[in-house]
Structure formats: C-alpha cells, structure tokens
C-alpha cells in the first residue's frame, strides 16, 4: 500500500509540534524517520495511524484520504503497552483472528523469533524492559499489517538482539512487502533497514532532508557504502545551529 | 391491579395481619377465612403490616383489600383523600399510656413541666399525650416532646434520656414487666380503637364479601374472648414476645364491641382536633365530615345483628 503525507502538521494547545511534513512511501518501501527528541516523530506516526485526527494537512493511503483507524495498519508504540492482565502469549495473540489454536501457534512462532520461547506464561510485570519490547514487536509483526508503523522498536535491546530483530523485520518484509515507517535514533539501523530516510529537525519539527538509500538488499552491516550513508545522515542531524 | 375479576365474585381477597390486632392473628392461624371462601375458589392472601402506616400504604396502593390500623391513622389518611372506610372494630385497645421510669418522681401530668417526653409524631401515643395535656390543663409547650420511634422511646426512657414516654404496647407491657416502669397516666378512652378498613372500591363491588369477612373476624373475636390464655399464647408465639407480655397486652384489649359507632366517632373527632392543632391534619378540613365518611357501621350492623 502506498502512503502519502501532504503538508501534515499538528498543534497542541496553540503550540505547533510538527509542521509541513510531506513525503510519499511507495508500496513495500521502508521509510526511516529520524530527528531530535521531541521534534514530532511519534506525533506523525499517530496521525498516520488514525489515532489522532486533529492534524492539519492530508494523509492518503493508496491515494485515498483517510480519516480514522485502518484495520490494515499496524502500530508498534514507543512504549511496549502490553496489557498487564494478559500473559506474554495472550498479549501476542491479542490482535490475531482465527481459532484459538492457530492464533497460539502463530504467536508462539513469533515469540520464538524474538527470543522469548519459554516465557509464554509470564505476565508483563515479570518481564525485563527489553523482553517487554520484544513482546510488543512480536505482537505488531504477528498481524502482518500492510502498513507497519514502528516507533523506536529496538531502543531497549542490546546490540546483538537488536541485529537479530532487524533481520527478523526484513524477513517479515520479504514475505509480506509491508510498507513501513520506522522511527529510530540509531543511524546504523536506519541505514541498514530503510529505503528512504526523512530527517526532521527543530521544534516545531520540519523536514530537514530526505535521503534515499539505493543500496540493494541484503545489505552488509559495516560496509563502506552504508558508512557513507551514515555519515550523510549524521551530518544532516548535526546540531551546530540548534541546541534542543 | 384490582383483585376483582368481575362484578360479584372477587378472584382473591387480600387481608392483612398485624401483631397489634390479635384477632387477625387468630384468623390467620386457624385459616377460617380460607375455609369460608374455599368453595368459591377465592384465594386468600395475607400481608403483614408492621404498623398502621404500612397497612394504609398497602390499602392505598391496592395491595390489600382489608387493613388493620389505629383509628387516628385511618382518619389522617382519609384526610389526605384515601378511599377507605372503616367497617369493623377489631378491639378497643388501651395500647397507649404515659410511662415513667421505675424510681421516677413523676406521678401526674403536672410533674412533666420542663421535662422531656418521648412520643412518635402522628401516632396514637402522640395523640394520647396531647389529649391528656388538654384534659389536665397542661400547656403542651411547657413540655419538650422528643420525636422517637416507639421502640426507641422505650429505650430512651430506660436509659434515662427522657423523663417520660407516651408508650405503646407491646413495648409498654414489656417495660412494665422488666424494668418496673410505671404507667402514671391512663385513659382507655383516649385511644382511637382498632379499625379494620376496607378499600371503598372493594366495598362497592363486593358488599357481600365485606360482610363475610366481618363474619370470620367475628368468629375470631369470639374465640379470643373465650380463650384469653390461648390467645395470649398465640400472640406470644406469632409476634415472638414473652407470654407474660402478651397476657398483659391482651388484658388491655376490650373485644366486646365490634360495631363501629358513636363512641368511635367521638374519639376520632377529638383526635382529629388535636391533630389539626398540631397541623398534622389540614386545619381547614372538616373533621366531622371526614369521620362520618370514614366510619361506615352498616356492614357490621347488618352482619352482627343477624
């Protein structure tokens, strides 16, 4: 599915949080959204998801202006947002449809992929921060949404688990060709995963640059091509002119 | 919903019973009403009245056809437009008197000046108290009347929080027996009699059945008169009070005159005046007229003279 933002902005109680953001994601494209803390990345994802309708501008999915939540959109929030009264397995099956057994099998598969096999019956309060985040990832991926919004999905993970899950994400992408919008602070991650990177800056946030990464997949981590992209992204993020 | 299916035969007859009407207890116990109407397939339904006001609520909401109350209560309800009439006197009770504690120095009404007296506003003991004041020439405002429910008045008296109490049986009987309380002012004529009331609608539609209910009530009344000891036992059992209390309570009931008439009329008019003075009944209301409307001796006269 394609996704199009046209001059999207959002104002909270008179104070603009993000302004004039326009970009287009072709079906199956992975868009990276980078920017300083508080520049409006999460706000944009909320607007795209349909949870927030009070934005300015136009958001179109498949060329049709949308208003409200689409069933085909998945959202992994910045916090894990697990339901505290459900155990790990039930949290993952939460969004699934079908009969109980199928759901549990599917959830079990994803839990294994995120390295949590054997923790099915734990409740959220018994999880470590990274484990909770991985449950949230499993929950978001399990529904195979056509548009997937990811808000710093790997922020609480150690370097190696992170890499595994990045590859998991690409695997899912290969199977379902979901269109993804990925918010991240990890420049390596952005360079490794994304087709295009939108760099936001300022408060209110505006689009600073758009960087297309033409490198074909599978990419090699630490390759000199990616390093060059990384440098470019870092340069556009540089704070010499601003401090917040 | 009326219990009358058509003119003539009611589908069922709904009676109340109350611990202050021993006759009703006897009637219910022996099933004479059921017996009487069984052949016609008329069902008898019993409802317990916890006090005159409940019995009147039941009557007014068409939940019972016959309800037992104190005469004054029936009058007050009538003053508010309740469509009821009194057709029968189940007893002439001396159920209220003025009570003082065991070692109290109160021996007559004049001693009450400046003291606290417990009474339940609007009920027979309250009327009794006011009529007593009037009769003895004590101005009511010299006395502090504390509004307490009957039972609470009794305990307030025994715990010394009030100096006297316009009592009501069986509380009064129990107090006499257990804490040697004294009835320092009595006057059976200031009580307003035990009225059996019927809904006007029922009386109009089924006058014969009113007569027949009075008939079974008569049977019960006579049984009580003939078997005072067993009646006391029955009362004690039903109301879960001590037998001595029941005996005392029954002693103070006069079951001899079941037909409402001039005495009741007078008692009610007097009570009505007292109630008007305390603005419990609309001062504009014509008490005599109301009383006449309320008391309808014709049924009892017809039945009992037979």
């Amino acid at each position: 599915m394609s996704l199009q933002l046209e001059r999207v902005g959002r104002t909270f109680a008179g104070k603009p949080a993000v302004q004039d953001v326009s970009f287009r994601a072709e079906p199956g494209e992975i868009i990276g959204l980078l920017g300083t803390s508080g520049c409006g990345k999460s706000t944009l994802l909320r607007a795209i998801s349909g949870l927030d309708n009070a934005y300015d501008g136009v958001i179109e999915i498949n060329g049709k202006k949308v208003n409200g939540i689409q069933k085909t959109t998945g959202f992994m929030f910045q916090e894990p947002r697990l339901l505290p009264w459900l155990n790990v397995l039930d949290n993952v099956t939460f969004g699934l449809e079908g009969n109980r057994e199928e759901k549990q099998k599917k959830a079990g598969r994803y839990l294994e992929s995120v390295g949590l096999a054997g923790n099915e019956i734990l409740y959220p309060k018994q999880l470590s921060g990274g484990m909770a985040q991985r449950v949230a990832i499993a929950r978001a991926l399990a529904t195979s949404p056509e548009i997937l919004l990811l808000d710093e999905p790997f922020s609480a993970l150690d370097a190696f688990t992170k890499m595994q899950l990045q590859d998991l994400l690409l695997e899912v992408w290969r199977s379902y060709r979901s269109t993804m919008v990925l918010v991240t602070h990890d420049v390596d991650e952005a360079a490794y995963l994304c087709d295009r990177i939108i760099v936001l800056r300022g408060q209110p946030g505006t689009v600073e640059r758009e960087i297309a990464i033409t490198e074909s997949r599978p990419r090699e981590r630490g390759s000199s091509e990616l390093a060059a992209y990384k440098a470019e992204i870092l340069a556009s993020l540089d704070l010499t002119t601003e401090t917040a | 919903s009326s219990s009358a299916s058509s003119e003539g035969t009611p589908e069922k007859i709904r009676l109340d019973y109350a611990y202050y009407s021993p006759t009703s207890l006897v009637l219910k116990k022996f099933g004479w009403a059921e017996e009487e109407f069984e052949e016609e397939g008329i069902e008898i339904e019993w409802a317990l009245s916890q006090g005159s006001n409940k019995a009147l609520e039941f009557l007014n909401s068409d939940s019972v056809d016959f309800g037992s109350t104190a005469g004054a209560a029936a009058l007050m309800s009538k003053a508010n437009g309740a469509p009821i009439k009194n057709v029968y006197i189940y007893s002439k009770p001396e159920w209220t008197a003025l009570v003082a504690g065991k070692d109290s120095d109160i021996s007559n009404l004049a001693d009450l000046k400046g003291k606290k007296v417990a009474a339940t506003l609007g009920t027979d003991p309250y009327i009794f108290l006011l009529r007593a004041f009037e009769a003895e020439g004590v101005p009511p405002k010299d006395v502090e009347i504390v509004n307490l429910q009957h039972g609470d008045g009794a305990s307030a008296l025994t715990s010394g929080q009030v100096d006297a109490w316009a009592g009501l049986d069986p509380h009064m009987a129990r107090l006499e027996l257990e804490s040697d309380a004294e009835l320092f002012y009595r006057n059976p004529d200031f009580n307003t009699y035990g009225f059996l009331n019927v809904r006007e609608e029922f009386a109009e539609k089924h006058p014969d059945y009113v007569n027949r209910v009075i008939n079974v009530y008569e049977k019960a009344r006579k049984w009580v008169q003939d078997n005072p000891e067993e009646a006391a036992k029955l009362l004690a059992e039903e109301a879960e009070i001590k037998e001595e209390v029941a005996v005392k309570q029954l002693e103070r009931n006069d079951f001899s005159e079941p037909v409402p008439g001039e005495v009741q009329r007078e008692a009610l008019v007097e009570a009505g005046k007292v109630l008007q003075e305390s603005e419990t009944i609309d001062p504009e209301a014509n008490i005599e007229e109301l009383t006449d409307e309320l008391i309808d001796p014709s049924f009892a006269e017809e039945t009992i003279s037979e």
């Binding site: 309708n53 009070a54 | 508010n80 506003l121 504390v146 307490l148 009030v162």
Partner: protein
C-alpha cells in the same frame, strides 16, 4: 474519536482547514446542561399530566405542582430552611468525621499487612448492617443529641470511603511507590506524596459514594429524637400518611444531594486533570 484530550479543542482549530473532527462547532442542542434536563423535565411533565388525569390519585402520588406548592409553603413560613440547614449541617459533619476515620483506618489497612488482618474482617462485617439497625445501639451509647446523629451519618460515610481507599492504595503502581522510596520518603510522606495522589481517583469515588450514603443515613440519624431535618420530614410524613410531605422530602433529598455531589464532581475534574484519559465519543 481519539482526539487527544489534553488540548483545548478550540485553540488549534483556528489555523486548520475545515476538518470535520477538528473544527467541530459546539452544537447548542447537545449542551450538557440542556441534555441533562431532558429526563428530569420529562419525568415531571409526564407525572404532572398523569396526576391531572388522575391516573395517580393525590392520596397516592400528588402532582409535582402540589409538591412544589408544599415546598414553597415551607419556604414561605421559613421551616424549609431549618430542615435543609440542619440536615446539611449534620451530613457535612458526619461526612468529615466519617472520611477522617476512613482515611486513617483505610491507610493503615492499605499499608500494613497486620493492620489488615486485625481490622478488616470486623469492618467488612459491620459494612452490611443496615442503618436502621444501628439506631437503638446509637441511642444507647450516645443518647439522642446531635453527636449521635452525626456519628450515625459518619458510619454511613465511612464504609465506601474506607473500601475505596484500601483498594486504591492496593492498586497504586509499585513503580511509583519505588520512586518515592528511593527518594527516602518515610511512610507518612509516601502516603501524602505518592499514594494519595495516585489513588486519588479511587478516593474521590469513595468520597462521592460516601456522601451519597451519608444522605441515606440521615433518616436513621433523624429517627433519634430530631425535631427538624429532611429525614424527620420524611418519617413524619410517613407517620402522618401525608404523601406530599414524603415526596417533598424526597425531592429535597434529591436536589440537595445532587448539589453536594456536584461540588465533589467539580473537585474531581479539577484534581484529576493530569490523568491520561481517552476522550469520550
């Protein structure tokens, strides 16, 4: 639908294009006050009409106009204010007393395992004793003066407040309590600075429940030798078989009860503005 509630909806609509959800104009017909009056008005009108048609005879249920007349009459001769004032005073005092007791005991029980084991069973047992049942006991213990009336109302207020406090404290997120502990708060400070604000929603519901029960306990309280008050009015009305007095007292209970609850509700919206609630649709 999911408009974020932390913003003032009027402000950001100025600059925005005509978004249906963003620029929703206030519909005058759906103003809360107006909507809220529909049912009461309907009730009164239907009742009046039915009374006039004598579907409800006056000895059963007098017409609203008659009730209003009764209340107006009481207002004129001044007795109304006495009734309302003394009852409100009793409820207020009982409310304060009951709340204070509930806060103390509720905090103890909410906090200390042993206090819970010690007090909670008895309190839970007392909770289901009807107000009327307390009357003779209170007369015995405290006589028939003002104190026993206020204490009786306090009993009614106590239970819901207590229950909500205990459960509120139990429901406070461990994570926040730990923050307080890390900053070296003692038990008392922990209650004041973490537990109380965190369990405030529950506490406020308890207060509102308790206040409601306080009004209900007024009748039992005023059975104890009162010569004024709404409960007194009700009982006298029942004893003297005067439906207009009964209904008038019910109406007064409803109106004043609603007013007192409204104050607490205002307090609730004031103090809970920080809650991250979903906007209602």
């Amino acid at each position: 639908m999911a408009k974020n509630q932390s913003e003032v909806s009027g402000i950001f609509t100025a600059g925005s294009k005509s978004k249906p959800s963003a620029a929703k104009p206030k519909n005058p017909f759906t103003h809360p006050l107006l909507l809220g009056s529909i049912f009461p008005l309907l009730l009164v009108v239907v009742w009046e009409v039915l009374s006039r048609l004598e579907v409800f005879p006056a000895y059963q249920l007098p017409a609203p106009s008659v009730i209003l007349g009764t209340i107006a009459g009481m207002a004129e001769d001044g007795t109304l204010w006495g009734h309302v004032f003394i009852t409100s005073y009793r409820v207020l005092m009982g409310f304060l007393l009951g709340t204070a007791a509930a806060v103390v005991l509720g905090s103890l029980v909410g906090f200390y395992k042993h206090a819970e084991a010690l007090f909670d069973p008895l309190i839970q047992a007392f909770r289901s004793i009807p107000s009327l049942a307390w009357v003779p006991l209170f007369i015995l213990w405290m006589g028939i003066g003002e104190p026993s009336k206020i204490a009786m109302i306090a009993v009614g207020v106590f239970f819901p407040v207590y229950l909500n406090i205990v459960s509120g404290i139990g429901g406070v997120d461990r994570k926040l309590i730990e923050v307080g502990k890390m900053y070296g708060l003692n038990m008392f400070q922990l209650v004041r600075r973490i537990i109380l604000p965190a369990s405030l929603p529950s506490f406020l519901v308890g207060l509102r429940s308790g206040l409601g029960l306080g009004w209900m306990f007024v009748v039992a309280a005023e059975l104890m030798g009162a010569s004024q008050g709404l409960g007194y009015l009700l009982v006298v009305g029942q004893n003297t078989l005067a439906p207009e007095t009964i209904i008038a007292s019910i109406v007064l209970f409803a109106v004043i009860g609603k007013l007192s609850d409204w104050i607490l509700k205002k307090l609730e919206t004031r103090t809970l503005h920080w809650q991250d609630r979903a906007a209602k649709s």
